[in-house]
């Protein structure tokens, strides 16, 4: 079978690629501006507060972007392990998204720096023995900068190896069309998923949960996974839609694929709600002070974060749940793209809810700085993604499952 039998344009528009340098500049400027905003707008008696806020904001927005890249990696692995046919035409998008992970390792350096030199700027436990609450003191053998760095290296190693391997082999297949490659990738997907699950779980504990080192929740890794998968499907839908609007990938990605991606997105809206509700219910019901403290930071009236909690229930669950329930919407790709943008916005609210209350009460200045930082980080993500994609075909045209993917029809559900 010859490559690209459908005679479809499957490369990104050159104008997009040209935007990458501009986006990098915009991103860098926004991130720096947000630092300035935090420093000068947020009134505080403590000089370090601006820095503290900036790094919390950086972390939240960093995880915001990294989460859907990790979601993409997991998607690629799962498609191989279950020998999926339908996804052959969209899998390359996920592979390319996952391929930005090595860059995210570079962007993790500021966090490493602040762990080593920050003295509690981002993580309270970096203040070291004697300066932290007694309960945190007992955890310092785990929450130790060097050990933290070593773990981060391991996590990134796992992700980078998986992302690079699955992309390279898939590209090789573009040339050779070899089915052997698919068999090999299927075989490795299982062990990689185990490694992925372990690394994501502990990365969530290390990077996110330890911003409040006294608090703990065993479901935290699953929560982040759910949020990441949800936002990944939104990014995927949006990418495919934008490509099609520019006359690309039109023959490879059909309404059926959009419908399927939308079903997954819908499923993860419900799954995220399930995980978030489970965590809340258990802590609310048992009402143990050291556990509810985390929710007190977020839901007590005087902290100012309570409206965000309610917003998450409405915007992260009720609205998109009802909005993407009808089959007609899931098969209408432009409406669906709107919902994908919506999901990506509420995903930011979710990440904000996880991180920002640790640094203080909500204020307009803080949220403004945080928003600017978000714009910057998203620009950086876009630049990385566009740069990484380059002229790479966005469809794995010679994937042996491609005929399956193209022929496939939804059952009337």
């Amino acid at each position: 079978m010859a490559a690209n039998t459908l005679n479809d344009n499957i490369t990104m528009p050159a104008s997009w690629r040209a935007a990458a340098p501009i986006l990098v500049a915009v991103g860098a400027v926004c991130v720096l501006v947000s630092l300035g905003l935090f420093q000068f707008l947020v009134k505080s008696e403590n000089e370090a507060t601006g820095f503290r806020m900036f790094f919390h904001s950086y972390l939240a927005n960093y995880i915001y972007c990294l989460s859907f890249c990790l979601g993409a990696l997991f998607f690629v692995l799962v498609q191989h392990v279950v020998r999926a046919g339908w996804s052959a035409s969209v899998r390359r998008v996920a592979e390319l998204l996952a391929l930005t992970i090595p860059w995210w390792a570079v962007l993790f350096l500021p966090i490493i720096a602040v762990v080593f030199g920050g003295q509690g700027t981002l993580y309270e436990w970096t203040k070291g023995a004697g300066n932290v609450p007694a309960i945190v003191e007992l955890k310092l053998s785990y929450l130790d900068p060097k050990w933290f760095l070593l773990r981060a290296v391991v996590y990134f190693a796992v992700w980078c190896i998986a992302a690079t391997l699955y992309f390279r082999k898939s590209r090789e297949q573009d040339e050779s069309g070899s089915t052997e490659i698919t068999i090999k990738l299927q075989r490795w997907a299982g062990p990689f998923i185990i490694a992925f699950a372990l690394s994501l779980n502990f990365a969530a504990f290390d990077w996110m949960m330890s911003t409040d080192a006294e608090w703990y929740s065993t479901i935290y890794g699953v929560y982040l996974f759910a949020a990441g998968m949800l936002s990944f499907f939104a990014v995927m839908i949006l990418t495919c839609y934008l490509m099609q609007r520019n006359g690309r990938m039109e023959k490879y990605v059909t309404t059926e694929h959009f419908h399927d991606l939308a079903k997954f997105q819908f499923g993860f809206i419900v799954f995220w709600t399930y995980i978030a509700f489970s965590q809340f219910l258990l802590y609310w019901y048992a009402n143990i002070p050291e556990e509810t403290a985390w929710y007190a930071d977020r839901l007590d009236l005087e902290t100012g974060w309570r409206p965000l909690g309610y917003l998450l229930i409405i915007l992260h669950f009720a609205v998109p749940f009802l909005g993407t329930l009808p089959r007609a919407i899931r098969r209408n790709k432009s409406v669906l793209a709107g919902w994908a943008v919506f999901i990506l916005c509420v995903h930011w609210l979710d990440m904000t809810f996880l991180v920002m209350p640790n640094v203080g009460h909500a204020s307009a200045a803080m949220l403004f700085g945080h928003f600017v930082c978000w714009i910057g980080m998203v620009s950086i993500f876009l630049a990385l993604f566009l740069f990484r994609v380059g002229e790479t075909p966005m469809v794995a045209v010679r994937d042996p499952w491609m005929p399956d993917a193209l022929a496939y029809q939804q059952s009337p559900m």
Binding site: M1, V82, R83, G85, W86, I135, L138, K139, Y142, T179, T182, I183, Q186, G190, I193, I194, A197, L198, N201, F205, Y216, S217, T218, I219, Y220, G221, V222, K263, V270, Y274, I275, S278, Q279, L281, L282, Y283, Y285, A286, I288, E290, P400, W401, M402, P403, D404, A407, S411, P412, M413
Partner: protein, 497 residues
């Protein structure tokens, strides 16, 4: 050649069924081309016959052995329940502080097993995993019988079981009061009740077309009448099929979160408390993973003998077993990940009670239960990384038995070790079961196997209509494949005589 028991009008079809019975390894896909899910050159007719004859012919010896062992065991179960009612819950080993002991362990064990059926029917349906069609019927039946077994235990555990109906919010003339909806135990009543009834109706609805097949194949009037009533006059009209399929997918979409919610609510029974070892946020997804794991373990335990006994190797192929074993591997590893997370978080929390509880689990007086659990649930499924274990029926059957044992012990470890070491060392205790406890566990297996044997005897154990749909789909895919490659495959073509 297999022996032909009674000369029937279906003789010709029978002959075609058994014409070629060679084993095909369909566990491997050449990427881009699906292996057939039904092997042995089956036709629609031969498939119908292969499944229907099970309830039409005399049962094999092994069935009688199972049935005649199961019924007295069920009798014993009934006897023990009567003894319990007449004497009181003191006949059990429940003691202070282990108030929730053996019966609750049995309840959670059976409810967990009862997850595979609806999962296979619903979740795998939504994921368009066609291989589910070979096994879903038997798995759903297993689900319902497991839920029956599960429901028995909380029922008899309430002390005055004849007043168990007080759990329902009915307008009581004497009391004029309502149940306590803030209690997770009441959520459990609703969750398990909903699950049992929805699973039952899902199972029955799935069976209607196959019951119609039984009806139409009946040679005597009585059988035709009974299956006729059960199949509600199903005619196979395309309009009916259209609504039926719609209803089926709606039910699947409803049953998927339902399956998750049931074991989630069961986990809430434990997790909303403040007891270390119970109160941890990963419990809901971890219980669900464990339930799927144990459910698939039980499906493999049941179907390996069933497919050999009833010669269903062409419908429940090695690929089906291979896939199930992969799910067992995946969920077993997930459960292992949850154990590890719990253990890590107990240390990370630096809550002395948490730390002690988990230390006590692994190295306290119940260390043996803990290590049985870990080796059966986490280590034994790792054998399924090797294809030999995934495709060798004896090997996988042994592993599945270990999974069943391990999952029982998981519930034992969670329930008993946490309770036996309370906050107050003065009330620590060591639970040991009484003979009634053990008799009831064994007896519940009697109930389960009685029901399952009757199911095999009287009802279609493979969803014939769905398998035929998959056969047709495969034929179309092969057709397409043949076209794209420019040469024809006659392999696996269904429908032609």
């Amino acid at each position: 050649m297999m022996p032909i028991p009674t000369p029937t009008k279906n003789l010709a079809r029978l002959m075609s069924t058994i014409a070629s019975h060679k084993v095909i390894d369909n566990t491997i896909d050449t990427p881009g081309r699906r292996s057939p899910l039904v092997t042995g050159n089956q036709t629609y007719g031969s498939l119908t016959h292969m499944v229907s004859r099970i309830s039409e012919e005399a049962q094999p010896l092994a069935w009688w052995v199972t049935f005649l062992l199961a019924v007295p065991t069920l009798g014993m179960f009934g006897g023990l329940i009567v003894y319990l009612f007449l004497t009181g819950v003191g006949v059990w080993g429940n003691m202070s502080p282990v108030f929730w002991a053996w019966p609750i362990v049995n309840f959670v064990f059976w409810v967990g097993i009862g997850h595979a059926g609806t999962l296979i029917s619903a979740i795998l349906f939504l994921f368009r995993q066609n291989w589910r069609t070979g096994i879903n019927r038997a798995a759903e039946a297993m689900t319902i019988f497991a839920v029956v077994c599960a429901g028995t235990f909380p029922g008899i555990h309430v002390g005055r079981a004849w007043l168990a109906f007080w759990l329902t919010p009915y307008p009581s003339l004497n009391l004029w009061m309502w149940p306590q909806f803030r209690s997770p135990l009441l959520w459990d009543v609703f969750a398990v009740g909903t699950y049992a009834s929805v699973s039952l109706v899902f199972w029955y609805m799935g069976m209607i077309p196959d019951l119609a097949t039984f009806r139409d194949r009946s040679t005597n009037k009585f059988r035709r009448m009974v299956y006729g009533i059960l199949s509600l006059g199903w005619s196979g009209s395309s309009r009916h099929w259209m609504r039926y399929e719609k209803a089926y997918s709606l039910l699947a979409a409803l049953a998927t979160p339902l399956v998750l919610s049931v074991h989630t609510v069961v986990s809430f029974d434990f997790a909303v408390s403040q007891l270390p070892g119970w109160h941890t946020t990963i419990f809901p997804p971890y219980f669900v993973a464990g339930a799927i794991f144990s459910g698939f373990g039980m499906v493999v335990t049941l179907l390996v003998p069933v497919r050999a006994l009833y010669k269903l190797k062409d419908v429940i192929t090695l690929r089906h077993l291979d896939n199930m074993n992969k799910i067992i591997l995946a969920t077993g590893s997930l459960v292992g990940l949850a154990y590890a997370t719990e253990f890590f978080m107990a240390w990370y929390s630096q809550n002395p009670y948490e730390v002690f509880t988990f230390w006590n689990r692994a190295f306290g007086p119940y260390w043996w239960a803990y290590w049985i659990m870990v080796s059966c649930n986490v280590i034994s499924p790792q054998l399924f990384w090797f294809k030999f274990f995934r495709t060798n029926t004896i090997a996988m059957w042994i592993v599945s038995i270990f999974v069943n044992i391990g999952m029982w012990f998981e519930r034992f470890v969670i329930t008993v070790t946490s309770l036996s070491r309370d906050f107050l060392p003065s009330s620590w205790g060591y639970f040991t079961p009484t003979w009634v406890d053990i008799g009831m566990l064994v007896g519940s297996f009697g109930l389960f196997f009685t029901l399952f044997s009757l199911f095999c005897r009287y009802l279609p154990i493979v969803a014939m209509a769905e398998v035929k749909g998959v056969m047709s789909q495969h034929a179309h895919a092969e057709h397409r494949h043949a076209h794209s490659h420019g040469h024809a495959h006659s392999h696996g073509h269904a429908g032609g005589h």
